[in-house]
Amino acid sequence: MIIDAHTHMSFEKIIVREPISGLEIESHSADDQIKVMDSLGIDKAVVLTNIGKLPLLTPEQIRDHNATQIKIAKKYPRLIPFALINYCLPEASDDLREAIRSGCRGVKLFCLPFIPIDSSNSYPFFETVQSLKIPVTFHTDFNEYYVSPYRMLNVAKQFPDITFLLAHMGYDYHQIWDFIRRDDVKTRDNLIMETAATPMIPLLIKKSCDLLGPERVVFGSEAHLFPPELGILKIKLAGLEKKNEQLVLGDNMARILGEE
């Protein structure tokens, strides 16, 4: 079984204007996503966000986004919707409860500078997450102050019952080496490395499995921005034992999501 832990959609062609102008993001519908999955033998995929023209920050944008996610998943049961929440808003916990009640299976967070994710001001939100027993996917980047995996590590220590997926593993491979060797990362079993948009270094996957355990690494592709074929190939080139490769490609995510 292959489960892609990290995909996106765009319902129209987007011309990104910030921070630079002119970058085009193509449209990618649920039908397009299913076709890609069929061509590569991907059974299921987590849909994290629909990429649109606006940053998804206001309560109205967030609710509209999550309602769309749920609508898609009802039509395409192979697509697993995660809610997007702005945890800095006072209604964050209520919005999350509503999204989960309506069918979302986890939550995707962008860490924002308004309230650092590992400050105690964010804890009430994580208490809600904990009570809902859902996984959290964080966008991480070692070179961005507010989205450093070290902040995620702090949160994971405070909330050991929540499963945290570190999207992109923090990107920067020099710093990933440091991170996965740390004792407090090795022992933090609720911290999962997610491979979407990580450097094209199969050795990183291998070393993460060796140091953290193969149960703590999951495949993500960053579709449709990145071709999932390359994300799968990166894992297949890592030289893992077959059973561990299967854990990374799908079994771990099935366990995290409580899938059959």
Binding site: P19, D172, Y173, H174, M200, L233
Partner: protein, 259 residues
């Protein structure tokens, strides 16, 4: 017979102690990897020992030349620290003995690509007609792509190869429009695609439409980065077969004057 002529602009040979997981990659390992992946030739840049100082670079240059003697498919590049007084002399020596280009590595202690001390090296590179490859990472203040573009603008006669397009993380995407806007077209800047992430349509499709395919060269970043991923990435890009052939090998063959 391979579908494309592939020349890899960036491979490392030897022992790398800079990571917590040391990497050992012999010339024989590299040739086996090239055979496995259908790569005809590769630019060989041995790890310097000691790293990042002139003594280590001179040893690495001798090693690159020795390797090329035994394995002509591995194209030697010299490495120098342009701040050293003997840097120009070392570059001329290495090129006389067979080096086809020079690579300069920068980090937070420099050297800085757009500093004045680059002038003798760049002028020597123009004189002996070899390209200058520069390590580039937008997360490093002194190896930032904007500094490399400034160097290319200061010396329009030298061919500057910007290593790894500026970085390995996804956010390099945001710098690409700046790179081609600042560099202009036609220009003397050559973008090497070794190392960056798996995105195809921004790295290749949009880049080609704005920058042109003639100044983009395929690179893998082996052994740390796997060439199979880099090759497949370029195969998946929705570009013309002509552009794909240029990037896979024809451009670098032209730049390095390889038959």
């Amino acid at each position: 017979m391979a579908k494309y002529r592939i020349i890899d602009s960036q491979v490392r040979i030897g022992e790398d102690f800079s990571f917590y997981f040391p990497i050992k990659h012999t010339p024989e390992d590299q040739i086996a990897l090239m055979d496995e992946c259908g790569i005809e030739k590769a630019v060989s840049i041995p790890y310097a020992d000691p790293p990042s100082i002139q003594k280590g670079f001179i040893r690495a240059n001798n090693l690159a030349l020795e390797i090329a003697e035994k394995f002509p498919r591995l194209i030697p590049f010299a490495q120098v620290d342009p701040r050293e007084s003997d840097a120009e002399k070392e570059l001329r020596r290495a090129v006389k003995l067979g080096a086809k280009g020079v690579r300069i590595f920068s980090y937070h202690l420099g050297p800085c690509p757009d500093a004045d001390y680059m002038k003798p090296i760049v002028e020597a590179a123009i004189d002996i007609d070899v390209p200058v490859m520069l390590f580039c990472d937008f997360n490093e203040k002194f190896a930032h792509p904007y500094r490399i573009i400034r160097l290319a603008q200061k010396f329009p006669k030298v061919r500057i190869i910007m290593e790894s397009l500026g970085g390995v993380d996804t956010d390099v995407t945001w710098f690409l429009a700046d790179i081609y806007e600042m560099a202009g077209k036609p220009c003397n800047l050559i973008l090497d695609t070794s190392s960056p992430h798996e995105m195809t349509y921004v790295l290749y499709e949009q880049l080609i439409s704005s920058f042109g395919a003639e100044n983009i060269v395929f690179g893998s970043g082996a052994p740390l980065f796997h060439p199979k991923l880099a090759i497949r990435k370029l195969e998946l890009a929705r570009i013309s077969e002509n552009d794909r052939e240029l990037i896979f090998g024809k451009n670098l063959a032209r730049i390095l004057k390889i038959d």
